[in-house]
Symmetry: C2
């Protein structure tokens, strides 16, 4: 049976960095060549990064990307990698429009190019806005095996290229992907890939990128599935990784070309005959997907790390309030950048408790962060006295003086400001715009409050397992949450218990269930009424919140947009 | 020849306000009945408002909208309007998904419903995300005439429903629209409608909504075009208006039903025979489209007015700096809400000139606004001294103390804060995030600086024509622009001359031209390099800017998204 050594390059490109991404492809192709691979596959649009958003519409960028893929072919040949066929995703553009494309580079030229067929236009995807779909499938004969390709969404939709390749005949399918992380996504991905491999009657090599890009984070999870649906190997999540796998395939697929269904299948031979039999490498073990909290934590760490680094920052600054949110953000930041890159600022006001400051100092020393205390009393007093502020206006001025302080430190010293709000607060609008919402990035924006606590406990327990100091002060975990903007204020004055609140939000936001459904599910009518009103009213605040790592399908961000001006409220008896 | 009296109801709905919009339909249908109309047409999705964005995905909302259209049919009959067929746009949902729909209400029931076929997914439109397309056309026989319908985008795309109706045979086509204003859009709209009427071989009645909805503003411009392409009548822009027009049509269209092209055409008779001949009303004169500056000004006034009112505010507050931007915003706000609803705040710092304050006071008295002076020196001093700020950090703290002051006044007194930045500043990032970018709405966000001056001069000249006090102090128009954040600072220290800058931005942003094109167009290479770098770097700032009225196709807002994290820069010789 024909053999083939496959290399899956799970790498971390940066959007727009055509030169850097080309270097990345050369570097990892070299590794594949050193490992004796016969075929190498990189992620979807690896050369441009993903998603390029409106850059897709800029002709000069598409032209540069097209040029970059041609010149990369030459570079690979010059680097002694010419004999290895390499699948490289990029942005193409022809007379029809922009294309989500992948090219095969071989002996200094582009020997095949294929355009993505299914263009996702839901959730974070807007591909029907940017790309035109392709309907041709370029199958290559490599060492006696027929190798077909499908790009990302093409494996998520029924029918289409996978069926066509199955009908036309292939021995192997490779699939470049840029598939954003979502919590427990692998539970969906693996069975799906198994089904597709069976549908095509061929093994499927799935390659996904890793790394953070604005709100998205990619987890990799690259893998190879046998045509029987068995998982042959899988790369570890959230790290760059080269998976090298020897396949021993039956070969002998039909070699139908021309129109198959709605696709035009072309065949091209790179190397006609099978390789001489060789000693296969041991199959690399399939990495287990990370356990839930470890997976979420990794996503948050990588999302923050790449946002900071890819945007050219080296350090972060934010308020250390002594509370749980800023403590968890601090632990994430320390894991992402090192404690020395973290600048914590305690900004006590007249209403701050003594433990706020001491818990903040404790946090800084646990993670090795820089720490300073900047009382905001003098600043607040000028505003309150001069403008005659009371009530909510006085509360908000405190949060805003903290925001101005952090931005001033950022402008003076070059740190990126982090906003420490969680998803629960964002959902109900429990934050001060231009106050605690200040920042360039919001690491736990998509983490509900109850999960914040869970992650804190998990991270501390991990530290203890490793014999390290737990990063998060116990007191920050156990004390009742408070904004400390007026005497003896507690979150529970304004909000329902977080366990209940997160349950309602999960149904309303993630589950898109209406008022009647929520009541039917057993929630208290007055509570549901109150929560839904808060959520419906907070759209403007949510839009003004900084971007943050997305870990669910329904993060608040670019893919969730309610009108700001809207009179719609879920109907309910208590309002009538 | 059969006659028919047509009523086009150019109204201003509010997104989500099913009850209020139903009231609006009843009110204007009554007017149509009083005018003796035989057919009334309302805008696209008038019952839900447009665009509903993610509300389209909420089943409880779709269900409520569906219920609302049924119950509206009953209400109209109860109100004595049952014999008038009324075309009402709404949100429908069936087993396939959500639908951009229009129903015909007659004698207490829905007698026809049709789904939009072409779903725009460019610019401000995301309809492929929300709706599934329809492929059926419901033609109604009304007083002996065959009346077909197409919804909005269906007239902007070649082929499709218009051709199918032409092939199947209709005597008249009505078209409900929600077509956002863009500068000089009527120059495109009118020839397009003329072409479509000819294509269908039937007159076309185009009904568009008016009013502001978040970033969009609708100008109306409803009209009727003869099948020869002649403009029969046109409604005035930016005001609610009922156009009543008697048509005298040849009738006798073919009555093909069943599959026509890709569409299923159904026919239904409401009233078989033509009306007895009657005395036609005089044709209402075709309103001229407003001249350029008047049209833009109206768009800005209506956009601001509706954002404020539909969001439940009654007054606005913002900084009166003495400069041109805040002066123009003040004049717009006074035209939109009345001077008494405008609260101007002069916030001088150590670097503010004497004329800043006096020009601001002059502005307030010209437009009859409330005015107060709040020096920011004491606030700024605390931050600067405590945090040891210098340079840019010190400059930004001034802008931010003004932002905190305005938000405090908003929280204390309930005004909506307006941000006064213009499109040129947004493009190049010449603003302070959380400083002058603070606000709930930014009226001139999409107005380039050179157009700001033009509008100021135009508005003053209009006042003089009417014998009124020109709202904008001459000094604010003529003095050189300055941010006044350091001694003797002028915009020209940091930015190219605004005439040149706006010309480059127009080519780069509106024209999507690359570096090479700009050089070829004769711009100085170093200047282009500098401007493009500023624009490319300012994406994060632009995303954090408040929404504002969109007057161009390429406003900075939801429909323009570059990645924040991006290494892409237009290539150019000077950087190498």
């Amino acid at each position: 049976m024909p053999q083939l050594r496959l290399a899956l390059a799970q790498v971390n490109p940066c959007v727009g960095d055509l030169d850097g991404n080309a270097d990345l492809v050369v570097e990892w192709t070299r590794k594949a060549v050193e490992a004796g691979a016969h075929l190498a596959v990189f992620p979807e649009m690896v050369l441009t990064g993903y998603p390029v958003e409106d850059l897709a519409l800029r002709e000069s960028f598409a032209e540069a990307a097209r040029h970059a893929v041609e010149s990369l072919a030459g570079r690979l040949a010059d680097a002694g990698c010419g004999d290895l066929p390499v699948y490289v995703g990029y942005l193409d553009r022809d007379e029809v429009g922009a294309r989500n494309a992948a090219a095969v580079l071989y002996r200094g030229t582009v020997v095949a190019r294929q355009y993505k067929h299914h263009l996702p236009n839901y959730g974070v995807f807007d591909e029907q806005r940017y790309f035109r779909p392709g309907a041709s499938l370029d199958v290559l004969r490599v060492h006696g095996l027929e190798v077909g390709m499908v790009i990302c969404e093409d494996i998520w939709q029924d029918g289409g290229p996978i069926s066509a390749l199955g009908a036309a005949g292939v021995d192997l399918i490779v699939s470049p992907n840029a598939s954003p992380y979502e919590r427990n996504k692998d539970d969906v991905r693996l069975p799906l890939l198994a089904r597709r491999a069976a549908e095509a009657g061929a093994p499927l090599a799935y390659v996904n990128q890793i790394g953070g890009q604005d709100e998205l984070v990619f987890d990799g999870d690259s893998m190879v599935i046998g045509q029987d649906g068995a998982l042959l190997t899988r790369a570890p999540q959230f790290v760059e990784h080269l998976t090298v796998l020897d396949l021993d395939l039956p070969g002998g697929a039909a070699r139908t070309a021309g129109l198959v269904g709605e696709f035009t299948v072309t065949r091209r031979t790179l190397t006609e005959s099978p390789l001489e039999p060789y000693q296969a490498l041991p199959t690399p073990p399939a990495a287990e997907p990370l356990p839930d909290q470890a997976e979420v934590w990794s996503a948050l760490v990588v999302g923050l790390r790449d946002y900071v680094r890819k945007n050219g920052f080296e350090s972060v600054v934010f308020g250390f309030s002594g509370g749980i949110d800023s403590a968890v953000v601090a632990a994430i930041a320390a894991d992402a950048l090192g404690g020395d890159a973290v600048y914590g600022v305690s900004m006590p006001s007249a209403y701050s408790s003594e433990h706020s400051r001491s818990d903040a100092a404790d946090l800084a020393s646990r993670i090795g962060a820089h720490f300073q205390v900047q009382p905001i009393g003098d600043m607040v007093r000028v505003f309150v006295d001069q403008l005659g502020l009371t009530g909510l206006a006085e509360e908000n001025v405190q949060a805003r003086c903290r925001g101005v302080t952090l931005m001033a430190l950022s402008n003076q010293h070059g740190h990126l400001v982090l906003a420490t709000g969680n998803k629960t607060e964002l959902a109900v609008g429990y934050s001060t715009i231009y106050g605690d919402a200040v920042g360039g990035f919001a690491p736990i924006k998509d983490v509900p409050k109850t999960l914040v606590w869970e992650l804190a406990k998990w991270r501390n327990a991990e530290a203890e397992k490793r014999g390290e100091v737990p990063p998060i002060p116990e007191n920050s975990i156990t004390k009742p949450p408070s904004a400390e903007l007026r005497p003896d204020q507690l979150d529970s004055d304004s909000l329902p218990d977080y366990e209940v609140l997160d349950a309602v939000l999960d149904d309303y936001v993630e589950g898109d269930r209406g008022y009647a459904d929520l009541i039917a599910a057993g929630f208290d009518a007055e509570l549901v009424d109150r929560v839904l009103r808060m959520v419906d009213r907070a759209e403007y605040k949510r839009r003004q919140y900084p971007p943050g790592t997305k870990i669910t399908f329904k993060a608040f961000g670019r893919d969730r947009r309610l009108p700001i001006t809207s009179a719609w409220r879920e109907r309910h008896p208590v309002a009538h």
